[in-house]
Amino acid sequence: MSNEFLLSAIIFLPTVGALVLSIMDGGAEKALRKIGYFTTAATFALTLVLLAEFDSSVSGMQMEVKAEWIKNWNVNYQLGVDGISLTLVLLTGLVCFLAMLASDSIKKDIKGYLILFLLLETGMLGVFLSLDFFLFYVFWEVMLLPMYFLIGIWGGPRREYAAMKFFLYTLVGSVLMLIALLMFYFGSATTTSPGSFDLLHLARIGQGKVPGLVFSETLQMTAFVLLFIGFAIKVPVVPFHTWLPDAHVEAPTPISMILAGVLLKMGGYGILRIAFPICPQGAQWASYVLVFLGVLSIIYGAFAAMAQTDFKRLVAYSSVSHMGYVLLGIAVWKLSEGKTVGAEYWKMGMNGAMFQMLAHGISSAGMFFMVGVIYDRVHHRDVNKFGGLMGLMPLYGGLAVGIFFAGLGLPGLCGFIGEVFTVLSAWNYHPIMAIISASGVILTAGYILWTIQRVFLGPEYKGPHPEAITPILPREAFIGFVLLGFAILLGVYPESMFGLMRESINQLVNDLVKVDMSSLAGVNTLLKR
């Protein structure tokens, strides 16, 4: 397969699957599911092909595709992959495949479910691979609608509320992003050429590399704030996070896996791919707030998780806490008198943040899956009404404890590397922030161990339907083993991922470091005194 075609194939293979499903008989449940498995597996296989074709020593975009789409507005169908997107594409392929395997518990209107599921996957892959802001925006919206229906139709008792909340939050984010998009479009227009949606081109303008064309400081700051809020809702960053617990609690298990495993990463990806490269001055100007919000999310999420009694809500808040590290790592851009200080620590923070996204993709998807496994059996999620599951379902208990420890940040499992690297890089930025973020390790240990104790340990199960507790099925065990296997792989040999993304991230940092920040120095001194 030619490389030009590969990216498009990855994005649209799920759509093809959805089309095939749409002409099939809705009653043929087994056949429908088979198509679903096959499509997600094939997509994952294609992402592995992408991995094989990918050259990790190149920092820039690879396998770029560019075709005219809407000529009047200079909109192009432009795709490309670099280290940052590659890893997330791999994650998407994997999580979607596993979520599809986990979809056996869905019984209602399976055809519609599968079609929406596959469309969602197309949207997510498109977001990670598009290099045109307009195309990015389109995929962003494409992903939004299936999610709304997946929560709103196949969700729990309060699904309408949750779906609406999710939709509104995300929509507000998209609208802000749209404004920024237009600002860039008109800002990049010159007398000779129309505006551009090309993210790479916009980034060059933003970094002052295009002669005679600059995004002014004010534009950068405004656009950054808009973009940041848009993406922060997705991450989610405190205080834009309250959609997440509701959406997770109501969403069916596989959708929770995707939501936590992939969707949240789009926020972090957007900040890395769009907000920072295009608005370096805005980013630097706001870095203090970003770091603060990151640290706040870590602590806030951990505390909130501790007080939950709903198992899924607890895991959802742990996501808030873990994604705080992502924001922290991205934003530790220390500037002193117009010069970046300790760029290597920032690189470490950025790499750590990216790694944390992958690690969280594995561990949180796993945690939600583990909650789903027990929910499918006893149909309740009250943490205080479990107990003794380790004895009743030893294999399940072992896998679940392993995955929860990955979330806890135990060395040798994936969560540790991302957390500790971002925290280590933070001291260079601000010692107090670093210390507060480090205190998250205690809180995280607290709420996860307490949960493990209440759910898995103890002599007997205390909730309803004790007769329904049956050993874990091979299919479920397979998903658990795959996730735990990846958690161990990433934890023991993180270089496997760092090697893929390092060049791209370092290039980004090097580019941003070179941006002239002299005009900002004054603002920062004022702010930071």
Binding site: T242, F303, M390, G412, A426, P459
Partner: protein
């Protein structure tokens, strides 16, 4: 040693230790999977675990011998100061693989092998092997499909579950792997990694009987308390990472991709020069802080010539904070004040675990790290370490006096002894502290196993008031225990020596070394006299409570005949390890400071220790003793310690052996103090009130904030939007639609009223035409006019 021999020696040592390190991991994987899918009654998991760790011991011991052979046992020759040999590299280090690399920053899985590593490896693998073997017997009641847990009560009586024999050995293997990794680690980040891993193994092992609420709570407590310490550890790591840019202990030369030699910087070489001195730049006009000079990697250390040095500086206080941070990790792991409360609760785990994890190895890891990281500790940090150790050893010893659970006495004794080690390191007795670590590991694991044997023999009875006279039922256990007790108390026969060798067990030598150092320290720094008085007093208390335990358990008349009648000596698989360990507990420190163990450790002693330090610290008033200074006090200190220990022993004998004095009487008289001690100095209550509950309250606040403020805001916004929409709808319905409807209605009404004209009668129409014509004519006429 020429470079080639050096290299080949390093590779050989690395291979041996790596094998010893990874075998238990392989064992773990094998045991956990094979165990899950195999028969519950199979002992195969135990044999696999024993094989792995025993093979590890063989490798470690071989490595130690090989190292000695290659260095011609130069470590054992007596030399005044090990620092004189700094032209020879004493350590072998290298990288297994890189975890991540960011420009010049690199984090890797390294190894660092010196005599301390080798001794630790040998000690850990030896003790672990013994404990593994012991556990085959001790855990044999798990070899069943229906294990009855007497401590868990359900609605249907006692709780039954399938045995978890294989899981226990899998955990033990995982722990052995983690512990060896910790010792082998070549950088402090890697120490942190394995630090957490031993912590989680400890969590699993404490919570082995996870059906028991007390066990799972104790496991949580242990892990979280350790995490509190690790929080400090992490802060220390952040500071070091930011200012030094490396985690490696010592520097080394590596070939890069182009085959050139690159100096990989090391923390110690950056901070200290060849003589182990730190360059402190006092505060001046430019700089309100005192600063520490850090040599630029590549221009410093033993690998390069001395002379021209370049580098940077960092604030002195930050390095102190970093040191305190790392030490906080040690405090957590070694259960020092104020994080000591988890260790007694950790006795919920099976006794072999208490012996291996919570006395001999894991808890000693804090001391090991404090020793390994000694060069990074500035005098202020060392003083803090000394005081923390001092407080801990006293506090734990006092609690041990009133504890009645046999394992808890040993647990408090462990805390107390760890305090001694910390104190030793803190007052500049590097070798003394680590010496005590090794000897303590042997006699304390021995005593724990003995207590395990007692518990096993008494059918899981742990309360000493129900025992007594057991020496008649289990003599081997009793006498091996006595060896341990004598060792820990530091008893010896004074004045008599055979061929110049003192007649004393290991604890005498190591405790003596610590007390001698502390005594010298307090002589040099008069204001810190407590650092000598308290450990001396502690030695007496130690002797008292240890003999109290022994007399209580083994001597006198049985207090509970039910327990006594069913008691029996343990099987050979359990008492054989006791014999082996008691041998080591007695003789591992053979010849004391002239012996090979002490010499081996001395070989790794940091350069600055031997000569002592004078007028250091920011205030410039701290002095650390030199070897010569300690030597002068050695005899006196040994005598004092022995005297106090004998007093303690005598007192214990009077109370519990001869029963001349009545302990209940004393208890009544000092009821307040007794209660205070039984309540463990109220720490659990204090922490619960000061931390646990506030955390839960804050957590509730945050959730309430989410629900009321954030969601409240969201809901208010939504409600506002809905009400605006309602208003809009009203306006549309009334005003806009009203206008449109009005036009329509008027038109309709007009048409309706005109229809009456249309009668359909022809003649009328004609009349209308006529009238119309006439009318038009009239109008025209009128207007025309």
């Amino acid at each position: 040693m020429d470079p080639q021999t050096y290299q080949s020696t390093g590779e050989m040592l690395r291979n041996l230790l790596t094998l010893a390190w990874l075998l238990p991991l392989a064992g773990f994987v094998l045991e956990v999977f094979a165990g899950y899918w195999s028969h519950r009654l199979s002992r195969a998991a135990a044999y696999s675990a024993v094989f792995c760790i025993a093979a590890g011991f063989v490798c470690s011991f071989a490595a130690l011998m090989y190292w000695g052979h290659q260095t011609h046992w130069s470590a054992l020759e007596s030399h005044a100061s090990p620092a004189d040999h700094h032209d020879v590299l004493k350590y072998f280090s290298g990288t297994y693989y890189t975890l991540a690399e960011f420009g010049k920053l690199r984090i890797a899985i390294d190894y660092h092998i010196d005599s301390l590593t080798l001794v630790m490896f040998t000690m850990v693998t030896l003790i672990a092997t013994m404990i593994h073997i012991f556990a085959i017997g001790y855990m044999s009641d798990e070899l069943t499909e229906h294990y009855e847990d007497h401590q868990v009560h359900t609605a249907h009586g006692h709780f039954h579950r399938p045995g978890r024999f294989y899981m226990f050995f899998a955990y033990l293997s995982l722990f052995s792997f983690s512990m060896l990794g910790l010792v082998l680690a070549g950088n402090v980040f890697q120490v942190f990694v394995f630090w957490e891993l031993v912590g989680v193994c400890s969590y699993f092992l404490i919570g082995f009987y996870f059906e028991r609420k007390s066990a799972s709570t104790a496991a949580n407590k242990a892990f979280i308390m350790n995490r509190v310490g690790d929080f400090g550890f992490l802060i220390g790591l952040m500071i070091l990472w930011t200012w030094f840019g490396t985690f490696q202990f010592n520097e080394r030369v590596e070939s890069d991709a182009n085959g050139r030699d690159v100096v990989m910087p090391g923390l110690f070489d950056m901070l200290r020069d060849d003589h182990g001195n730190v360059t402190v730049l006092p505060a001046n006009d430019h700089d309100s802080y005192a600063r520490v000079f850090l040599a630029d990697p590549g221009h410093s250390g033993a690998l390069k010539h001395e002379g021209h040095k370049e580098g940077k500086t960092m604030p002195y206080f930050l390095l102190v904070v970093a040191g305190l941070g790392i030490f906080a990790g040690c405090v957590g792991k070694s259960a020092q004040f104020p994080l000591q409360t988890w260790l007694p609760d950790a006795m919920e785990g099976p006794t072999p675990v208490s012996a291996l994890v919570h006395s001999a190895t894991m808890v000693a890891a804090g001391v090991y790290l404090a020793g390994r990281f000694y060069p990074m500790f500035l005098p202020e940090v060392l003083l803090t370490i000394a005081y923390v150790g001092c407080i801990t050893l006293f506090m734990a010893a006092t609690i041990a006096v009133v504890a009645t659970d046999i394992k808890r006495v040993l647990a408090y004794s462990t805390i107390s002894q760890l305090g001694y080690m910390m104190l030793g390191i803190g007052v500049g007795g590097w070798t003394a502290g680590l010496f005590h670590l090794i000897t303590h590991a042997f006699f304390k694991s021995l005593m724990f196993l003995c207590s395990g044997s007692v518990i096993h023999g008494c059918h899981h009875e742990q309360e000493m008031p129900k025992m007594g006279g057991l020496i008649r039922k289990m003599p081997i256990t009793a006498y091996t225990m006595l060896v341990g007790v004598i060792a820990i108390c530091g008893l010896a026969i004074p004045g008599i020596s055979i061929f110049g060798i003192k007649i004393a067990f290991s604890g005498y030598h190591s405790k003596d070394a610590i007390i001698a150092t502390a005594m010298t320290f307090s002589q040099l720094n008069g204001s810190h006299f407590l650092l000598f008085v308290v450990p001396l007093l502690g030695a007496g208390i130690t002797a008292f409570y240890m003999f109290r335990l022994w007399f209580y358990t083994f001597i006198g008349q049985p207090r509970d005949h039910h327990v006594y009648d069913h008691a029996h000596e343990s099987p050979v698989v359990m008492w054989a390890p006791l014999i082996v360990l008691s041998f080591f507990a007695a003789f591992v420190a053979f010849k004391g400071e002239a012996g090979s163990l002490f010499k081996l450790l001395l070989d790794t002693e940091p350069a600055s220790v031997a000569h002592g330090l004078h007028d250091v610290g920011l205030a410039g008033d701290l002095n650390f003793p030199s070897h010569v200074g300690i030597e002068e006090n050695h005899k006196a200190a040994g005598l004092y310690a022995l005297l106090v220990a004998v007093m303690g022993t005598t007192l214990a004998y009077l109370f519990y052996g001869a029963r001349v004095l009545n302990p209940a009487e004393v208890k009544r008289q000092f009821a307040g103090v007794h209660n205070f001690l039984v309540e463990k100095w109220q720490f659990d209550i204090l922490y619960d009130a000061a931390f646990v509950r506030p955390v839960h309250v804050i957590a509730k606040w945050f959730v309430a904030f989410d629900r009321n403020v954030l969601d409240g805001f969201l809901h208010a916004t939504a409600r506002t939007a809905v009400s605006i929409a309602t208003l809009d709808r009203r306006f549309d319905e009334t005003v806009v639609d009203g206008l449109v409807n009005l036009v329509g209605n008027v038109t309709y009404d007009a048409g309706r009223s005109l229809r009456y004209v249309q009668t359909g009668r022809l003649r009328q129409y004609v009349m209308f035409i006529v009238l119309g014509v006439v009318g038009i004519w009239i109008v025209m006429r009128l207007f025309a006019a």
